[in-house]
Amino acid sequence: MPILPTDVSDEEFKLWIKEKWGYKKLPMAGSAPPGSAKFFRTGDWAAQRPILIKDNCISCLECYFFCPDSAITMETGEDGKKRPKFDYFYCKGCGVCANECPGRKGNKAIIMEDL
């Protein structure tokens, strides 16, 4: 019987890519599990990475919406304010977040740091 990619667990998927499964084991029609790209590191493309300067963050949320790589999540701090957290597993270091960051009084809350 054909297996569906949605029947493949995360652990099995890791084996699939590690062992490079053959066609008798692979799901049908070249189908793939939802969101399986989350296992693919793109962080090693980066030459720079964003750093948060917490005091300059005005919680405008824009960086979260602009990030093309789903590498920013918003975390709610003890003060109840949402600030970005960077996932360097995915972040390609494009610098869009830092470029768009309005900061506080002209001082950026996100700056890019060379790797």
Binding site: P5, A32, P68, C94
Partner: protein, 321 residues
């Protein structure tokens, strides 16, 4: 007006789930990635995505890695509107027979400028004429970027691409961009909108409206490409914003034939001093470098500006300004 675009603020959207993961292989700073994430923030019911061949399709689904967390299908380049037509028909028939039980299902189609202005326009026109209930999203980066920056019907005037290179005789693309949004409006479909990922709340609201409206909907989203348009990846969103602020890509909706400017463009309509001269934008991107070096081609810049102005004035007239 029978139907309105919802009003969202970023804080309404920040906790919404997205269905586009990291780990895709779009270039660093690719605005299509920002656009795709934002589009999925509008999802609130069973949704399926149909993707034309192109950067977004290729880079988001390099087997066995898929960045999509809703059912996603790619068939070919020129046919995603037809593929989605078939799915919409299938859902209708199977719902009638009781073999499809997910209920109302939203259908989103993504096509690039090549897949929309050029090779796919027939399938889109057919799907719109037949009245399928789907939202077609054109993400327009102004050239066939996936195959290496060839000119398309959506490439702007005088831009240098690999098939409209800036040569010593011919200075980039000779033609103006095809008025794709006008063409879609001419189909008399109930919802047409333009958007840009630099304005996420506006974009997400329009996606939601396009999905909620009954019948075909079309969105033209400007999504910059730093590789093909030749600029620093960090500037992707900034330059998308400039395309809006120069009125090269004005933001508006056409609902049941009624034109309405969206906030960023409405501000310019009310205060024309906010309109950025096109030359400022052209200077920023390498695809227009030949307009400034070795000598400034004011003739071409003025010609381009005149066309942008003409289309903007036409839009203003339609929107009651």
């Amino acid at each position: 007006m029978t139907f309105e675009v919802p009003k969202y603020r970023l804080k309404d959207l920040v906790d919404k789930p997205t269905y586009f993961t990291g780990g895709h292989r779009l270039c660093a700073g690719c605005a299509a990635g920002s656009m795709a994430r934002q589009v999925t923030m509008a999802f609130n019911k069973p949704t399926m995505i149909f993707n034309s061949t192109g950067c977004l399709e290729v880079a988001s689904t390099i087997y066995p890695f898929s960045a999509w967390e809703v059912p996603w299908l790619h068939v070919a380049f020129e046919n995603s509107a037809a593929v989605a037509s078939g799915v919409e028909a299938a859902i209708k028939a199977m719902t009638r027979k009781g073999t499809y039980t997910a209920g109302k299902t939203d259908i989103v189609v993504f096509g690039g400028d090549g897949g929309t202005y050029d090779i796919g326009i027939q399938a889109i026109s057919g799907a719109f004429e037949r009245g399928h209930d789907l939202l077609y999203i054109l993400y327009d980066n102004g050239a066939y970027m996936n195959t290496g920056i060839q000119r398309s019907g959506g490439t702007p005037f005088s831009a240098s691409t690999t098939t409209s290179p800036a040569g010593s005789v011919i200075p980039g693309k000779s033609q103006f961009r095809k008025p794709i949004t006008d063409i879609m409006i001419a189909h008399r479909i109930p919802f047409v909108a333009t958007a840009a990922p630099a304005y996420p709340a506006d974009l997400v609201a329009k996606v939601r409206a396009g999905l909620d409206v009954e019948g075909p909907a079309f969105m033209h989203i400007d999504a910059s490409c730093n590789r093909g348009q030749r600029f620093d990846p960090a500037k992707s969103i900034e330059y998308v914003k400039m395309a809006v602020e120069t009125c090269l890509h004005p933001l508006y909706t056409v609902i049941e034939g009624e034109y309405k400017l969206s906030r960023p463009s409405e501000r310019i309509a009310k205060d024309p001093s906010r309109k950025i001269p096109l030359v400022e934008f052209l200077k920023k991107e390498g695809r227009w470098r030949h307009l400034f070096r070795p000598t400034e081609r004011t003739d071409l810049i003025e010609k381009f500006q005149a066309e942008v102005d003409k289309r903007w004035e036409e839009l203003l007239a339609k929107t009651g300004f």
